[in-house]
């Protein structure tokens, strides 16, 4: 028996394989292109003054972004302190109590939808909720907006990890007479610790590079942080303002800030992935 010639099909297969490899390469190429450009343009800006000095007017040398670096750190920490307790409790509800319930199903669904919401929409929401109510842009509003973006990320990860904790562990603790809340907090949480840390790290990584929601809430400021109820300097909005300005020294600072933010976000992601995320659900 003579087999049917398969050249055409083989060629198609070969073409698709080549296209697939090229597509994967182009994705990696873009990643490298961005990171190398960041290092090339941003590294010259990163000197001691960048971290210690306050911003100067354009064309005045010696400007730094000390206030914006502190502001971004403060906003991220505040957002984490707001989002993590609520996120963890809600994760417990979904993972421990309500695995089958309709309510938990509904909450899970909305958390997924909120994860995909454009961050700028969250910005407008907090603008209406806090900025209009208080009367001016404020760091507090910025932190709340970041917390809302972080919340679904933090809430969904522990749920998966809590499910992986074997039931006999819970039963053993319950049989010892421990109340349910004690079992959850000190036994189950400890077992699911790495997964929960992964969720928190990914949440922090997600919000520390956010810009759009801050345009509507924390805004930006060239001065030192004075209070939570005033506009708060931060790196991302500073990047936006400086990059759009016509001054070369400001653009240089914007590159430095971009490098700093990207390095931090990528480091958090890698940490979550390789240190804590070894046991993926």
């Amino acid at each position: 028996m003579i087999p049917r010639p398969a050249t055409g099909r083989r060629i198609v297969n070969l073409l698709v394989s080549v296209a697939a490899s090229l597509a994967a390469l182009s994705g990696i190429f873009i990643l490298l292109w961005i990171t190398i450009m960041l290092a090339y343009k941003g590294l010259p800006a990163l000197n001691l003054g960048f971290f210690l000095n306050m911003p100067t007017p354009p064309m005045v040398p010696g400007g730094g972004l000390a206030n914006a670096i502190l502001g971004t750190l403060l906003l991220t920490v505040l957002a984490t302190f707001m989002a993590v307790p609520i996120g963890l409790l809600s994760g417990i509800c979904l993972g421990e109590f309500g695995q089958q319930s309709r309510l938990a199903d509904f909450c899970r669904f909305t958390a997924n939808v909120l994860t995909g919401m454009p961050s700028i929409i969250v910005g407008i929401f907090v603008y209406g909720l806090l900025v209009l109510t208080i009367g001016n842009f404020s760091g507090l509003a910025g932190a709340v907006a970041l917390a809302i973006i972080m919340l679904p990320v933090v809430a969904r990860t522990p749920e998966d990890m809590l499910r992986l904790v074997p039931d006999p562990l819970r039963e053993a603790a319950l049989a010892m007479g421990a109340p349910r809340w004690r079992v959850t907090l000190s036994i189950v949480f400890r077992a699911a610790r790495t997964g929960i840390m992964t969720g928190i790290l990914l949440g922090v990584a997600r919000v520390s590079g956010e810009t759009a929601p801050l345009l509507f809430t924390a805004l930006n400021s060239p001065y030192m942080i004075s209070s939570l109820f005033h506009p708060m300097p931060n790196l991302t909005v500073t990047i936006y303002n400086y990059a759009m300005s016509p001054y070369a020294d400001w653009q240089q600072l914007a590159w430095g800030a971009s490098l700093l933010i990207t390095a931090a976000v990528l480091a958090l992601n890698l940490l979550a992935r390789f240190v804590f995320g070894e046991k993926k659900p």
């Binding site: 698709v16 394989s17 961005i34 979904l94 995909g116 919401m117 421990a178 590079g209």
Partner: protein
């Protein structure tokens, strides 16, 4: 009976106070879980009430009018909606085929070790903040487009109205291409899951009758996991619709509808980011927020469809999500 109560409270785990603490804890967690749905409802309510002024002033014409003039107080959403749809369309046309073949590469072609490294690198594309794509897009990628890609397209495809006009670098096409790389990792991740979860028996029977890798993917894997692939595509679509900072940097921010992809335009998100700081007039602010309401409704439906599809896929394969 005071005695009986004493005995009851002496037995650990039976004490009335502890039962109360348990119920309290459970209620705490339920309230925390309800925060997210409450925020969703709050977002919708807030957007609706803040955009009421604009919707009342312009009525239905707001959605079809191309006007955007802060001086004469005349606003319409058409150019922003057009820009959002066009830039998203370009992004999806590029990202969907690329994501599918990358997933194919990761699951079927590459050796496990390479697949793991390449997969991680592609996932890192999603970790880079939007504003960094904007910086890179404006200062690196747009000049590249203006010097190499756009003159080339203009020369060979210039007879199409899509590729006419001066090669400025910024514009719809550049924004769409950058968006494509931003949503690529999301679609790839889902397609990779889908391809990996198709039962080996199905693929092997395909190979057994002599099918090539591509034929197995195209005729067996994709039809089997079509709901999941569609869910992934919709997930990427939702991301592309609302991407803000990257687009704001490179799209040019002009409220005009133009046939050429080289021309500057704007999207809903870029108009919001670009003009909100300048808007002081109540009607201007309200019109911008009305744009936000449109974006919210778009993305909400896309996300809901995407989640329903992904759920159906994972449920069908009895994986809990």
């Amino acid at each position: 009976m005071p005695q009986a109560r004493d005995i009851a409270s002496a037995i650990p785990g039976k004490a009335p106070a502890k039962i109360g603490a348990d119920a309290l804890f459970k209620w705490f967690t339920i309230i925390a879980a309800l925060v997210v749905p409450i925020i969703m409802a709050g977002i919708f309510w807030e957007l609706l009430s803040l955009s009421w002024l604009a919707l009342k002033t312009f009525g239905w014409k707001f959605f079809i009018s191309e006007a955007w003039n802060p001086v004469t107080q005349n606003f319409g959403a058409a150019s922003s909606i057009f820009g959002t749809v066009v830039s998203t369309l370009i992004a999806m046309l590029l990202a969907v085929p690329m994501s599918i073949v990358i997933a194919l590469f990761l699951v079927e072609l590459a050796p496990p070790r390479i697949s793991k490294v390449v997969g991680s690198l592609i996932e890192l594309l999603a970790a880079i903040p939007s504003i960094i794509y904007g910086m890179w897009g404006l200062f690196v990628f747009a000049p590249f487009m203006a010097t190499y890609v756009q003159p080339f397209l203009g020369q060979y495809l210039g007879f199409l109205p899509l590729f006419q006009g001066p090669p400025m670098g910024i514009g719809m096409l550049t924004a769409g291409i950058i968006l494509a790389f931003m949503v690529l990792p999301f679609i790839t991740a889902i397609c990779r899951d889908v391809f990996a979860l198709v039962p080996a028996v199905l693929k092997e029977s395909g190979y057994g009758v002599g099918a090539t890798t591509w034929e197995v993917t195209y005729k067996i894997t994709i039809p089997y996991g079509v709901v999941g692939v569609l869910g992934g595509i919709f997930l990427g679509l939702g991301r592309a619709l609302g991407e803000t900072m990257a687009v704001t940097f490179v799209i040019g921010n002009s409220h005009r509808i133009s046939a050429s992809l080289f021309a500057p335009g704007n999207t809903i998100a870029s108009a919001l980011a670009n003009e909100f700081a300048e808007a002081t007039d109540p009607l201007f602010i309200s019109s911008l927020i009305a744009l936000g309401l449109v974006l919210f409704i778009f993305t909400f439906f896309v996300q809901v469809v995407s989640q329903l599809m992904l759920r159906r896929m994972y449920r069908g394969w009895s994986i809990k999500v």
